[in-house]
């Protein structure tokens, strides 16, 4: 019988009462489907019930299990051990207060997101005019004028951890800027003007250093870096006519 392969986990442990974090080592078995989260939960179940880790959906949809694995921001539930080397170094997200072990305080992310007021829902794919026309045709069953879906961003905070600028709490940060861009693109009843004011700030869209680390680590394909570039173009289009003393030639921002 084959001995199952194992890898060495080095997990950064932070006890809120102890002054210095430490790395604890655990040897964990590797199956074809084993994820970093599976391994951590097995450690918690079999070796150390005090290992603190957040998780919920187990498929990359809730955004709770963000952490740094071998120095890179990932969702632990969709990161398989077979894609990693040995040892596997597991640390909490950077730039946030560590509540314990791999659990960080998510308040800084939500404090930045909340004022943007982006709805959870957006128009879905295939919800264009053709579809509305087809749905409105007689005899085609229930009418769906506008299909909707949840926004892609899962509020995991990987982008904030990876961003070289977001250590400054005044910076709005990639997640909130990407959310602002969505509000301007598809307002759904929100106030675009107020959001424009929020992001047109030295600590808003202009603070980004174009490192694009946010887009590299985003597990949901949001591309916050690209969104920030689109925001800047929008802000310039809004600003330039004012600077040269003319009225805005074409109103882009929904009132």
């Amino acid at each position: 019988m084959n001995t199952p392969r194992t890898v060495l986990f080095k997990v950064l442990r932070t006890d809120p009462a102890a002054p210095v974090p430490r790395y604890d080592e655990f040897r964990v078995p590797v199956g074809s489907r084993t994820t970093v989260l599976d391994a951590l939960l097995a450690v918690r179940r079999l070796k150390d019930p005090g290992l603190a880790v957040r998780h919920s959906c187990l498929h990359g949809s809730c955004g709770t299990c963000g952490m740094r694995v071998n120095g890179r921001e990932v969702l632990a539930c969709v990161t398989r051990l077979q894609e990693l080397g040995d040892p596997v170094v597991v640390e909490p997200l950077a730039g946030a207060r560590v509540v314990g072990d791999l659990v960080v305080d998510m308040e800084p992310l939500y404090r930045r997101l909340e004022p943007v007021g982006r709805p959870l829902l957006r128009a879905s794919e295939r919800a264009g005019p053709d579809r509305a026309e087809a749905a409105a045709a007689p005899g085609t069953g229930p009418v769906l004028e506008e299909l909707e879906r949840f926004e892609d961003c899962i509020e995991c905070g990987l982008c904030l951890s990876a961003c070289p600028v977001a250590g400054d709490p005044r910076f709005l940060g990639p997640a909130a800027l990407a959310a602002a861009e969505r509000v301007l693109e598809e307002p759904r009843g929100t106030e675009g003007r107020a959001v424009l004011g929020l992001v047109d700030d030295a600590h808003g869209a202009w603070r980004c250093h174009l490192a694009f680390e946010c887009s590299a680590v985003c597990p949901a394909g949001v591309d916050p870096g690209g969104a920030i570039m689109r925001l800047r173009r929008r802000l310039l289009a809004d600003r330039l006519p004012r600077l040269v003393g003319k009225s805005h030639p074409h109103q882009e921002v929904p009132s």
């Binding site: 006890d15 809120p16 009462a17 489907r33 994820t35 179940r45 019930p49 005090g50 603190a52 880790v53 957040r54 998780h55 919920s56 959906c57 187990l58 498929h59 990359g60 949809s61 809730c62 709770t64 539930c77 969709v78 509540v99 314990g100 072990d101 659990v103 998510m106 308040e107 992310l109 939500y110 404090r111 997101l113 909340e114 709805p119 959870l120 829902l121 879905s124 794919e125 295939r126 919800a127 087809a134 749905a135 005899g139 085609t140 069953g141 229930p142 769906l144 299909l147 909707e148 879906r149 949840f150 926004e151 892609d152 899962i154 949901a220 394909g221």
Partner: protein, 392 residues
């Protein structure tokens, strides 16, 4: 006089909805969860807001609960659902035969339906298998399995509930045959302590037998896991169900840029130790592709298991599928002669509010309080408030 203190053990959807309900009725509430909130069964479900149609033929009690709660939740949690509807799709002659019972069952349970021809159905949902024989539209919707419960937690905390994640109950405190509180260990600091309570509610889902055992009582709950498969790509916008009796891989539904296929069913003893059998994953691919052909070639994002808390005796033949999906509240004073201890279990994510209402009714009756349920009409705070508006 101080309000009676109720400890809710279990930070899933049921515990969150219960904390919210009890706070609205004027009680002092502490909620304890050994891990992060929604880290048990709650966060892992496929995200379906049931219309009840799935249960209309064989489990009408659950069906009626689901459609009632479907309507209430849309009202109290606006913006938390993709309200694109659902289809039950007939692929075979057997499915077509089942259709008659299905439509009659839905009508009996007050679940709206609309029969669609194959052309109409594919017009509405182009992802469907074009070889379908018929489809029935129902008011299914999808939710975010974590963010809907978070709205209950956020609202409960705004109302004064103390929420304590990462706090494990290590034993129950007793005075004779009465439960008087809990002993806890803070999993972040390792600190241990005791909390007194006028009543302790066991809302630990498939783990409820474990807590009940600490009170020296048993609850007839069968942890029944199912495998779910997340695929890369939004392959449909509507919830797509197979029009037949419940079976493996009979639902495909969208979730952001993913699609979820569910599920299978078996039974286990330990809900912490769930396997993801490869043959179940293959069954999800095979059966899901019959409904939405693009499933067959979609890349796997993740496969995982979630344990349902089914009420019923152990050792059923059907992996728990024959058991009702309804919920039940146990007053252990009545069933076991143990005062101060109540268990709520069974049920579904869709019925979390109704489970909380029934439990809070029992809690108030036991504490001699007359306080009507107000959760049917109280609009919930946004999920972001859970993180940004900490109570004092």
């Amino acid at each position: 006089m101080d309000a009676p203190h109720v400890i809710v053990v279990g930070g899933g959807g049921t515990g969150g909805a219960l904390a919210h309900d009890l706070v609205l009725r004027g009680l002092a509430v502490t909620l304890l969860e050994r891990g992060e909130l929604t880290s048990g069964t709650t966060g892992r479900h496929h995200g379906l807001l049931h219309s009840g149609a799935r249960y209309a033929v064989n489990d009408p009690e659950s069906a009626v609960e689901c459609i009632a709660e479907n309507r209430i939740l849309r009202r109290i949690a606006p913006g938390s659902f993709e309200e694109n509807g659902g289809l039950f799709v007939a692929l075979t002659d057997e499915d077509m035969d089942y259709r008659h019972n299905f439509l009659a069952g839905c009508a009996a349970c007050d679940i709206p339906t609309r029969e669609l021809t194959p052309v109409e159905a594919v017009g509405l949902e182009p992802g469907l298998n074009p070889a379908l024989k018929a489809a029935v539209w129902v008011p299914d919707a999808t939710m975010d399995a974590m963010r809907l419960p978070l709205r209950f937690f956020a609202t409960a905390r705004q109302g004064g509930a103390r929420l304590r994640p990462f706090t494990e109950v290590t034993s129950l405190l007793h005075a004779g045959r009465r439960v008087t509180g809990v002993a806890v260990r803070d999993r972040l600091t390792g600190r241990e302590g005791e909390l007194g309570a006028d009543l302790v509610v066991n809302a630990t889902g498939p783990w409820c037998e474990r807590l009940a055992a600490m009170a020296g009582v048993a609850v007839p709950v069968q942890p029944s896991p199912g495998v779910l498969l997340a695929l890369v790509g939004r392959l449909c916008n509507l919830v797509v169900n197979r029009l037949h009796g419940a079976a493996d891989g009979d639902i495909v539904l969208p979730q952001r840029a993913l699609s979820i296929v569910g599920t299978s069913a078996w039974t286990v003893e330990d809900p912490d130790d769930l396997d993801v059998p490869d043959e179940h994953v293959q069954a999800m691919y095979r059966e899901g592709a019959k409904l939405v052909p693009a499933v067959a070639s979609a890349a796997e994002r993740a496969a995982w298991s979630a344990a349902r808390p089914l009420i019923g005796a152990s050792g059923g033949e059907g992996g728990g599928r024959e058991l009702s999906r309804t919920f039940k509240c146990f007053d252990h004073a009545v069933t076991d002669g143990v005062e101060g201890f109540v268990t709520i279990t069974g049920g579904k994510a869709t019925t979390l509010r109704a489970m909380a209402e029934a439990t809070a009714d029992l809690v108030c009756a036991k504490l001699g309080l007359e306080a009507p349920c107000r959760t049917r009409d109280t609009v919930l705070a946004p999920h972001t408030a859970y993180y940004t508006r900490r109570a004092a």
